[in-house]
Symmetry: C2
Subunit: 502 residues, 2 copies
């Protein structure tokens, strides 16, 4: 029985949030603490819970209430917006019948296993038949949900509401030549590559952990409303608005990996901790989009964490933690080492410039697969061709190429572009925050991140999902997404590093 009112809607939404938070805890635990033999029952628990969530979400009585509320003239604007966004999400679910969803879940689960095997054998052909099935199902999903311009729009919309293939085409075609020019300049630079060997010395896990915890504490991560743990792949997950879990990975022979993963996930974590408890369960307490979520991690990682100001403050602290390893390193060499630009094969290891080409390649391939102009059979050749074209790299094997990402095995098409969007939004927002807070760089250089925290809280976190990424960008910066901010930031930073005479 659902109460036929806005309160009834809120109650059901909170119930759904409770259940999906319980599912999130099952996921989190699986990544950080689950004993190996617990995996079988864990899969069953997640399946049971998601079945119950689906039933409660799509219960006819609830859908009817949502439809009634959506035309109820007595609702406050904020209430109206919550209902509208919930209805959109549920309508999308309803367009995909239960059987289709089950087929997709089952196929993805098999595809994931095939991908793991293919990675073990370094052989794309073992994954190809499953990828074909996944692509067919995703095409079917686009048809079922419907689109006006391009089928791929349907898939992007799940992660970046309102964003179109056409806009991404436009964005990436203006980004490409600018980036190519800058990377070419760096390639031709007379400056030799910075020394990075010091970062590969032995850095004990215990000390690294302490530094990472200190850094995210400094960023403002609230350890009374969240925690950090260790996992193989770093991630952020909310188990409640005041229970945000981030994870990091520690490699004792790579200091940077821990640093960037802590700062990156810390940025995601701050966003999740920034929602108002009064909005629990409602779209107001959700991220605007994956692109905006990523803008928060990248803003902290690239614009704060890889910036001069932060290391003005933090380098001495780091040196105290690792006096022997950093003995002969100074602030300048440290800064140069963390900002090396060098085309590489693996997306997750890429620097902030060449990273975009990894995304653009996947965007072009996904678009082709979904609109049928590219077949899975032609995919490997096309992958390698694009890596040659954009990054001048030969792909030696499938694991270093087409098999490197997990996303397709999960059926996550349309996800990759949000990484680049995040990076572009981050640059645009960071440009603005430096105008709004003229002393920001000096504040950062003394370890004071309070104004930045407050700005992000006010400008980004507090809006939740009530404004989509485009609206949010316009509210904050006065214009839609614009690649020039990223290009300006990058040109200035990397010309100074590579092209200025020291």
């Amino acid at each position: 029985m659902i109460e036929k009112s806005y309160a009834g809607y809120v109650e059901r939404m909170r119930q759904l949030a409770d259940l999906s938070n319980a599912a999130s805890l099952l996921h989190w635990d699986q990544e950080v603490y689950l004993p190996i033999n617990g995996n079988t029952s864990r899969a069953g628990q997640l399946a049971t819970l998601s079945g119950i969530i689906y039933n409660l979400q799509t219960e006819p009585e609830f859908v009817a209430l949502l439809n009634e509320l959506s035309i109820n003239p007595n609702l406050e604007p904020e209430q109206k917006k919550n209902v509208e966004l919930s209805l959109k999400e549920i309508n999308r679910k309803l367009l995909l019948d239960r059987k289709f969803v089950e087929r997709l879940t089952l196929t993805s689960s098999n595809a994931y296993r095939a991908w793991v095997t293919a990675r073990k054998e370094n052989k794309f052909s073992l994954f190809a038949p499953w990828l074909e099935k996944i692509v067919k199902l995703k095409q079917e999903e686009c048809q079922k949900i419907g689109f006006s311009e391009h089928p791929y729009d349907v898939l992007i919309d799940e992660y970046e509401p309102g964003m179109k293939t056409r806009q991404l085409d436009h964005l990436f075609s203006s980004l490409k030549p600018e980036l190519e020019k800058l990377i070419q300049e760096i390639r031709n630079s007379p400056n030799t590559s910075p020394d990075t060997a010091f970062a590969k010395q032995f850095y004990p896990a215990g000390e690294q952990w302490k530094v990472g915890m200190d850094v995210i504490g400094l960023m403002g991560f609230d350890f009374e409303s969240g925690r950090q743990d260790i996992s193989e792949h770093p991630f952020t997950i909310s188990l409640g608005l005041r229970d945000v879990r981030i994870t990091t990975r520690i490699d004792e022979h790579n200091l940077f990996e821990m640093l960037w993963s802590c700062i990156h996930e810390g940025g995601h974590g701050l966003y999740e901790q920034g929602f108002d408890v009064a909005d629990y369960g409602l779209p107001k307490a959700e991220a605007a989009s994956l692109g905006i979520h990523e803008s928060q991690s990248r803003l902290w990682e690239n614009h704060v964490g890889r910036g001069v100001a932060f290391w003005n403050f933090y380098f001495n602290k780091l040196k105290m933690a690792f006096p022997a390893q950093l003995e002969s390193v100074n602030e300048n060499t440290f800064y140069a080492a963390m900002n090396v630009i060098k085309p590489s094969l693996i997306r997750t290891n890429a620097d902030e410039l060449t990273y975009h080409f990894h995304v653009i390649i996947r965007f072009e391939l996904e678009k082709g697969l979904i609109d049928g102009t590219l077949t899975v059979a032609d995919l490997p050749a096309r992958w390698n061709e694009l890596y040659k074209k954009y990054l001048q790299l030969n792909v030696p094997d499938d694991n270093s190429g087409i098999l490197q990402d997990i996303h397709w095995s999960h059926g996550s098409f349309g996800y990759f572009p949000t990484y680049s969007l995040g990076s572009l939004y981050a640059a645009q927002f960071f440009h603005q925050v430096n105008i709004d807070i003229p002393d920001l760089q000096q504040e950062i250089a003394t370890g004071n991140l309070k104004s930045l925290n407050a700005w992000l809280q006010h400008k980004v976190y507090s809006k939740g999902k009530h404004v989509d990424s485009n609206e949010l960008c316009k509210m904050i910066t006065g214009e839609s997404i614009n690649i020039n901010y990223f290009i300006d930031y990058a040109s200035q930073k990397y010309r100074q590093l590579y092209l200025s005479s020291h």
Copy 2:
């Protein structure tokens, strides 16, 4: 829609197990990792999940299926037993209407908070009004469910199916004089109290943790199907048949606390790991009773862990972990120090003899509260009187007396007796296993616990809930519970320690 067959029953039971395992993870996480501000949303998540579990359990269609299956002549005996036990549990639930359950949950939750405050102020009067409400509700519960002899039977039955107040009266009245006699002998013993100061030195947490992990590994705890963590109050919880979590507490100035909590919870954990995965979700894969569960922890803690044989093997290993702290300690003094008998005020710190009086006191008080012969107003005086009578102790304040246990604030009446039952069963089972495995003590003395593991697996774990504690005791030892086994074990052990001339 439930399939109208035994398979349909199994499916629903597994779904329920999945959900209750998810709830168990929420509980576990709350005790070990939850950030403090996550508590509010955690309470909501648990409430939502338990509401959904209740609805699925008591759904009329499912209850009808259970009733049909219970008279279906085509079921195998094991199937019949599963259905019968599930039906018993659900019928009990159905006798308590939803409203009553909600009232009880809400009252307990307030009572728990009042108990916490009362503990802070060391003032029973702050808890008393809530305890009165709880007692009234538990009396109401007894009436709703019904009984033939004593209302308290209803409450015991939830933890120890089949056990009656009358039987406990009988058991405890024969146990009391025997124990009093033995404790009196020890009190009059010319042997001075053993030296225990060495156990209160500084034992670093890291080293203690390693020893604890080693000991539970030696006991046969499977770390691929479970794990150990740290929590304030040690406990065991299953999140799946191959995902058993135990916790321990480490006090750097008390070596024994970690040792006994690891071995105690390890014994609980082994029981939980011993069920067959094929029985997931069914009573066959549940403990026979809390008393039998406790028999497993006590058998390991008291009969193995506080026994001579185990320390013949393990004392040298422990000495290697703490060479400085144990330098002047030998095996005999160590054994004597871990087996000190001394009446004390706090149940959880009590030795294995005086422990029973703590339970007997609570049993007598609970019985009186439930049958109305004792009021909450008279409770503190009665508590203090009984501690004087049985343990010759004056209770100096409420925290050391009537406020020490959490159980009543949770509404857990009828739980305490299972602690003593566990201890009695443990002695009776351990007597039998030494007959069945004549070399057991020698095996233990070489660190070989395999035959004991196999015996417990075969005799206890494999039966699940399909035999109740009384049947199980008869199957294993040829007779019902009999206090003589405990008295014989204790007399022999403690006369040797206290009354023999060294």
